[in-house]
Amino acid sequence: MTVKTRSKKVRVTTPFFKSMWAVVWKDLKAEGRSFQLLSAMWIFSFLVILIFNFAFELNIRERTNVASGILWVAFVFAGTLGLNRSMAVEKDRGCLDGLLLAPVDRSVIYFGKVIGNLFFMFMVEIPVLFLFAVFYNYFEIFNWGVILVIVLGSIGYTVVGTFLSSMSAQSRSRDVLLPILLFPVVLPVVINAVRASGNFLQAQEFMFVWPSIRMLIVFDVIFLALGYMLFDFIVEE
């Protein structure tokens, strides 16, 4: 039987959100099947928590001071693994070209990847928080202030990381290049996230935490705008 491949009913105009959710759906579906990215991130972050737990003999006061730093070290390094893997998937079998051939504004691809990566970050952060609380006997980390900082910090980290991983994915030394590019750029996000979550853990008043929170919000907005404007240029030859 001959099946006509040409059908007059098929129209092509792709709305922004529809195509963006298609990218998110694709990332979640593929990861839900292989767990390659998440398993690497989980193992790495758990090991970081474990190593720090054995390396430091912390009393209650010291624990309050260093807890946020340990948490963010685990998030940042595990996140780098995830970001690298997330773009490596797009380079396999030329998939990135397949995405770029779609008749959509290319920022759609960027935002889709950001949402996907952010979801993976949260999927790592939730068990890491529980593990941290158990290992360090420090259940005070489950407070709304810390969670707000983790959300804002993760957004900033993922927004920058997705942009830079798209850039480094074009290079042959992408595995090495991403951390080198990412850490200096993302430093303001990490410093403010560590400071703000530390302040919340020390139960300081909100007026002392607000400057760091404000900086996180500003960085998130600026980096999101930069990613939106520049993504097209970094994926084009």
Partner: protein, 250 residues
Amino acid sequence: MSMIKVKNLVKMFGLKTILKGMNFDVEPGEFVAFLGPNGAGKTTFLRILSSLSMPSFGDVKVAGYQLPQHAAAVRSKLGVLSHQPLLYGDLTAEENLEFFGRMYNVNDLGKRIDEMLEVVGLSKRRGDLVRTFSRGMQQRLAIGRAVVHNPEILLLDEPYTGLDQDASGILDDVLRTIASEGRTVIMTSHDLVRTEDMASRFDVLSKGKVIASTNKKNISKNGLLAFYRDAIERSKIEEEEKKRDRKNKK
């Protein structure tokens, strides 16, 4: 109106010029085979037509839209098949078509996916992960991906690379079906026998320029190899003459 119109196209990577003032014109429904040695600029040219690469200079119009200004509109008219399948290994055949169908906002997608899987002969493997497919199966599914949105123009960049005889035969059938539906097709290939059989026009590209062009009716049966060799040979002679002239002038 030409489906593809290219005037004085130049593409440079750094100081290296890959396409050197290329001119090219394709009418709707033509099947153009793009021939040429490795490094002639065939893939670069197709990447520019598909808006994956920006022209350095020159004028490129595809389906009436100017590149790179109207790149998204051009992309909606194009289907691209390269030697890489551009498919996700951790998604099934059906999910891959579903994803690309969503990206192209294809209406009645479920029915369209069924049609495509039947055309490429993968209906029975629709639920299998693409990474478990052979190279030939991946390439057939890649055809489904390339035409799922019913494009006006198909760009095929060495689609037979890495395929065995059987897989190439199946690919032939699928491509013939698709081309017979009035699409404009541009294909690069090193396989002259297959190309001669499929295309209606043959252009030879060498060192960034189209050096010869002919229609199928102008060449005898099995005459494509002679036409190609002659074009390359003439290009080499011209190049040597130019070099000699430049030396003499100095």
